[in-house]
Symmetry: C2
Subunit: 370 residues, 2 copies
Amino acid sequence: MTSTAAPLTYDQAGVNYDLIDPLKITAQRAAAATASHLAGHGFTEVKASRGESAYVVDVGPFYLASIVECLGTKTLVADEMAKLTGKSFFAGIAQDTIAMAVNDLITVGATPLVVQAYWAAGGSDWFGDAQRAQALVAGWKAACDTCQVAWGGGETPALAGIVEDGRIDLAASCTGLINPKERLSVGDKLGAGDAIVLLASSGIHANGLSLARKLAERLPQGYLTEIEPGLTYGEALLAPTALYSPVTEALWKAGIAPHYCANITGHGWRKLLRHPSQLTYRIHSVPPKTAVLDFIQKQAGQDDREAYSTLNMGAGFAIFVKAEDAERTAQVARDCGIEAWVAGTVEAGEKQLLIEPLDIRFSEDDLALR
Amino acid sequence: MTSTAAPLTYDQAGVNYDLIDPLKITAQRAAAATASHLAGHGFTEVKASRGESAYVVDVGPFYLASIVECLGTKTLVADEMAKLTGKSFFAGIAQDTIAMAVNDLITVGATPLVVQAYWAAGGSDWFGDAQRAQALVAGWKAACDTCQVAWGGGETPALAGIVEDGRIDLAASCTGLINPKERLSVGDKLGAGDAIVLLASSGIHANGLSLARKLAERLPQGYLTEIEPGLTYGEALLAPTALYSPVTEALWKAGIAPHYCANITGHGWRKLLRHPSQLTYRIHSVPPKTAVLDFIQKQAGQDDREAYSTLNMGAGFAIFVKAEDAERTAQVARDCGIEAWVAGTVEAGEKQLLIEPLDIRFSEDDLALR
């Protein structure tokens, strides 16, 4: 089955990063100017963490890392699928939300310790649906159990007039420690000769959902379209995001300290270019796309370049390690139940990502995050 | 000017805590069960922080405190006033959002160190209004400067279909340290004989806005109604929330360690009953209501009991200290530019709040947060 309509780009699906990114950059500059306040408390920021996925402060005996992350629009798929199937998917949605925060926090080398819940509903009555609310609570706790984090508390406001009626805006904040300090994985550790290990994604995760939802509108059977025998498009989209902190913790216990990590979320594989250094990333092995990502690419009529620039395409997380640690890194991930591949190398050279099997090149200009 | 319509209660204004509170309590129980994960990292939770405004973990040399807090619906007033006056109020709104997080975090004795921004818009175009976006950035930075916190970063998602078109859902997460550990102000420190010092609010702050907005609909001139010569109802509502962390930091420098603190937000003065102990709180002096709160109470036709059970009524923060520190605590606050009053005492006896000048009594049943 291939798409019969015109190709669908990410911008057409309603998210225009060109409008958001300039504000992001202005905000980042204002934020950077506040770092000096830490000196008054006897601390300093880890400057290399500016522009990374989590912010890091040197508090003496260890580093403190913190973050807040939004789930995005995946709940809209869960809401639609609940209508179509009568099932609640909010346990998985809870895992997605925690994954957004935890998978970002660990990129700097932190052990996640505390998660806070941000559940902003369109009205008090959202919380009156006991089955859905209990699924959210149970899934949230289960994800905390997997990541070995304490659920500290949170916020459950009712925001009629801001959040749409019947909807919920989900986010998580996460705080952790980089302990011992040598676990810090931002800054100068990454270098030529390092290997790139990719960890399997479980599906679309929680980025690209605007596109995925738009696509559902074009399918005659919508979310109930079978993408594999017995698996609907909606169910496949709702596979909960993989939680990668068990892998990074196991790596540390195995004596492996990543030089750098990238959580592959918005901007897809372009996130592999996140580190500020001028380095070339050469990918020699591309992991299998998951079924749902393959389906989306075909249905949206995207070429590989478009697909890899917006979706995770089977790889949810990248770990950059010493070349001699590469195979063992992949094995540690597999032992945690997450498929992994030694997929490429870091080389001296201009800043670019070369996905050789697909003949794709992304340059610095393709990712303007700082 | 008094109200000509029927009294307006908080429930009628659209927030039904009876639907939210049971879910909150279920979530709190699931959250409490995750505390044991900290042991695997060599840490323990401070159990007394469960049910408090911020969650606290003992990480050895100091305590780690974290929180996420939502602004609520105050942006709806800012949006309406922008239409009516052509001015942007988002610098003040930014301060409100940070205040929600910082003023909660300091209740446990923490020094706020890092704030993360959560700005979830109804669409990418929200960020395209440069004047408004810049005001938000500038106000956010200014509030960080006042509180001497580092702005670590944040999240600026576009959530069409979840957040209403043209609106923004604002929240802040905050991480801090309780350092030295004796600054911890949850647990057994509070006791009979302590004094209650109230710090002035700057207006409605960011709680009770649903009610305030409902009221605007009943006023012939709406937000442009003058509540004092030259001061409209809308402008008065938009006075930014007072930031209290300069006071708690100055107290520590002055050698005063609060036994307990309560941020007076949702549930109004009932928050004075937050501490789990069985103690009686006797208020002998009631601070002046701000003009806008007096106006709201009259217009909504609320009796004092209703008003004090939902709004801050002039007191935004309560500090419980040793009796001999009370006057000096108030003076330290005034030196920070925040009016303060020694307003009452803590006594042995059943759990209740007695606001003597108004003949109001709130009992334990009036506040079910745990």
